[in-house]
C-alpha cells in the first residue's frame, strides 16, 4: 500500500447526503475481476448530467472529495474505494461515513476524514468560491488546512501509523500466527466445518 503522510490538492464539493455505494460505482461495474479500471464508472449515473460537479472544468483536477452526511452507505463493495482512487481521489471528507466503506477505504489507502457538518459546509463554500483553493490534508498532524484555516480531525493512532507506513494488514496479522494457532487449539469442536460436505 502507498504511504499516506500528507496530501495537497484541490477540492470537489459534492453537496449530497446519503451517497450510497451503488451511486459511487453502479453494480454493472462490479463484474470486473481487477482492482483497476473503475474510473469511468465513478458516479456513473450522475455523470450523465453535464451539470454534475465532476463534469465541471474547474473541478476536474480535484483530488479531495467533500461530501455530505452518511457517505458510502449500502453495499460492501470495495470497488467504490477503488473507483474513487482510480479516478484520482486521495481523500474523502464527510461528517459521517458508513462503517464498511470507511473500513475498506482505510485498508486500501484512501484517507476518509470525518469533520463536523459546519466544517464541511465551510469547505464547500470555500471551494465553491475558489475551485483552485489549495487544501492540505496532513495525516501527520491530523489536520485539514486551507486559506489560513486549520481544522483537526480524529483518527486512531494504530490506523494512522499503518497508513503512514503503508503497511500490509495481512502481513501484520501473519506475525501473530502463533496466537492464531493457540486459539485454534482451544476452539470448540462443536463448531461446524464446511468440509467434508454433508
Amino acid at each position: 500500500m502507498e504511504k499516506f503522510i500528507t496530501h495537497t490538492g484541490t477540492g470537489v464539493p459534492l453537496r449530497r447526503s446519503n451517497v450510497d455505494t451503488d451511486q459511487i460505482i453502479p453494480a454493472l461495474w462490479l463484474k470486473l475481476v481487477t482492482r483497476t479500471g473503475y474510473e469511468d464508472g465513478l458516479f456513473g449515473a450522475w455523470r450523465k448530467d453535464p451539470e454534475f460537479v465532476l463534469n465541471k472544468d474547474e473541478y476536474k483536477k480535484g483530488t479531495i472529495l467533500i461530501a455530505g452526511l452518511d457517505f458510502g452507505t449500502g453495499s460492501s463493495r470495495e470497488h467504490a474505494v477503488w473507483a474513487l482512487q482510480n479516478y484520482g481521489f486521495r481523500v474523502v471528507i464527510s461528517p459521517r461515513f458508513a462503517d464498511i466503506f470507511r473500513g475498506n477505504s482505510l485498508k486500501a489507502g484512501l484517507l476518509t476524514v470525518i469533520l463536523p457538518q459546519e466544517q464541511v459546509e465551510a469547505l464547500w463554500a470555500a471551494v465553491e468560491a475558489n475551485p483552485n483553493l489549495e487544501i492540505t490534508v496532513s495525516l501527520e498532524n491530523r489536520s485539514v488546512s486551507y486559506d489560513g484555516v486549520s481544522v483537526g480531525f480524529e483518527l486512531d493512532d494504530y490506523t494512522r501509523w499503518r497508513l503512514m507506513e503503508g503497511l500490509d494488514d495481512i502481513g501484520l496479522t501473519l506475525k501473530q500466527t502463533e496466537s492464531i494457532d493457540e486459539y485454534e487449539m482451544k476452539r470448540s469442536p462443536l463448531k461446524p466445518a464446511t468440509l467434508p460436505a454433508r
Binding site: D22, L30, I100, I180, L195
Partner: protein
Amino acid sequence: MAKTLAEKIWQEHIVRTAAGEPDLIYIDLHLIHEVTSAQAFDGLRLAGRKVRRPDLTIATEDHNTPTQNIDKPIADPVSKLQIDTLRNNCAEFGLRIHSLGDIDQGIVHVVGPQLGLTQPGMTIVCGDSHTSTHGAFGALAFGIGTSQVEHVLATQTLPLDPPKTMAINVEGTLQPGVSAKDIILAIIAQIGTGGGQGYVLEYRGSAIRALSMEGRMTVCNMSIEAGARAGLIAPDQTTFDYIRGRAHAPEDFDAALAYWSTLQSDTDAKFDVEITIDAETLAPFVTWGTNPAQGLPLTGAVPDPSLIADAEERGAAERALEYMDLKAGTPLKKIAIDTVFLGSCTNGRIEDLRTAATILNGKKISSSLRMLVVPGSARVRLQAEAEGLDKVFIEAGAEWRNAGCSMCLGMNPDQLAPGERSASTSNRNFEGRQGKGGRTHLVSPLVAAATAIRGTLSSPADL
C-alpha cells in the same frame, strides 16, 4: 460484569488483544461469492499465500447468475468470466463451491442457514453487506470488503474494533397483515440510515420472539440499511428447532444446545443505547424515496419536502421525489406499479413464498404489471414446487424463476427498464439499484402480493 450477547461472542473470539490496537478476532465461517472475491484471491497468489482454513470457507454463485436458462452457458461474457474466475479460484485453493445448477446453489445468505452452517455464537463474515442476516441465529455476522476477504482467507481472523451495542425492544403483537419486513422498515425510518452506525443492534422483545427464523432473518438482514455493523437476535427454541436435522447441525446436538442456551444478554447488561417500539402500532410499510429510511405506513401520502425542517433531509427528499417521479400529497396506495419482485436475501425464503402464495391463490395479477418470483436458493425452489406454490404463482400470471439475487441489484439479466417502477421485497431502493433509471418501492411479501393483484401499492386488507 454483566455482558450483552454481542460482547460475549466478541470476547470468545479474541485471538489477541493489545493496548492501542484493534482486537484480532477469529472467524468461524467465511462465505464467498463471485463479486467480491476475485481480487482477494489475486492478492493471495501475488503474495504466495494459501487459504488458512478451507474447511471454514464455502462459496456459492448468486449475484451475477441468470434466473432463466440456467442449463445454458452464461450469455454475458463479463459475468461468465467472473463466475469462471470464482470456480477456478475455488479449485486452485481447495474450497467447497455450489455452482449454478447445483442443488445447494443460491443466495449466500440463504444457503448458509439452510445447510445448518449458521449457528449461534459464531462469527461469520462475507464480502456482502447483508451478512447481517445470520445474526438472526445469535451469531455475530458482518459484511466486509475485498481487502478483508483476503485477510480472512489468509489468516481466518480480522483486526476489528469492538462495536457499541444498541437494544431495540419490539414489544406487543403485530396486527394482521403486518410482518417482519414492516418491523425493520419502521425501525430504519425511525433511526435513519446512519442511526445504527458503529452499533450491533440486538432485536429483543415479544414481537421478535414471536417471529419465525425466516422473519428474524428479514429483520437482521436490513440492519445494514440503518448503518449498523450487525444485527443480532438471541437464540431460543425457534432457533434450535430450525437447525436440528440440517446437514451441518452439530452431531452432539445436546452439547451444542447447552452452550447455545447461554447465549443471551445478561439481564442487567448495559447497552449503549436502548429504544422501544410498540408492535401494535406498526402497519404495512413502504418506501417512497431513494434510501431505505424514506418510508411510511402504506396508508400515508408522499411527503411534502417543504414541510421538512432539516435542510439536508429536505434536499434529499426533493431529489428523491424528482428521481421517483412522485408528487407530494399523492396517496401511496394510488401509486401504480409496473413490476413486482418477490425474492432476495431479505424475502426469498420458503415462508416468504408461502405467505405471498396464500394471497395470490386462485387470483390473477393485474394485467398492468409483471411479477417475478425468485426463490432464494435451489432448495427453496424445490420445496416450493413440492408444496405446489409454483403453480399458484404461474396460474396467477407470475414468472417462476431459478434461484439467485435476481432483480435485487441490477447485475444480472433481471433488471428494471429506465422509468419502470417496482414494488420489491428486496432491501435497497437506491437510485438505479434494480436497473438504470428504475424506481423502487420496498415492501413486504404480503404487500407485494396484494400490489400484484391490484396494480397499485396495496395491502391484503385492500383486496
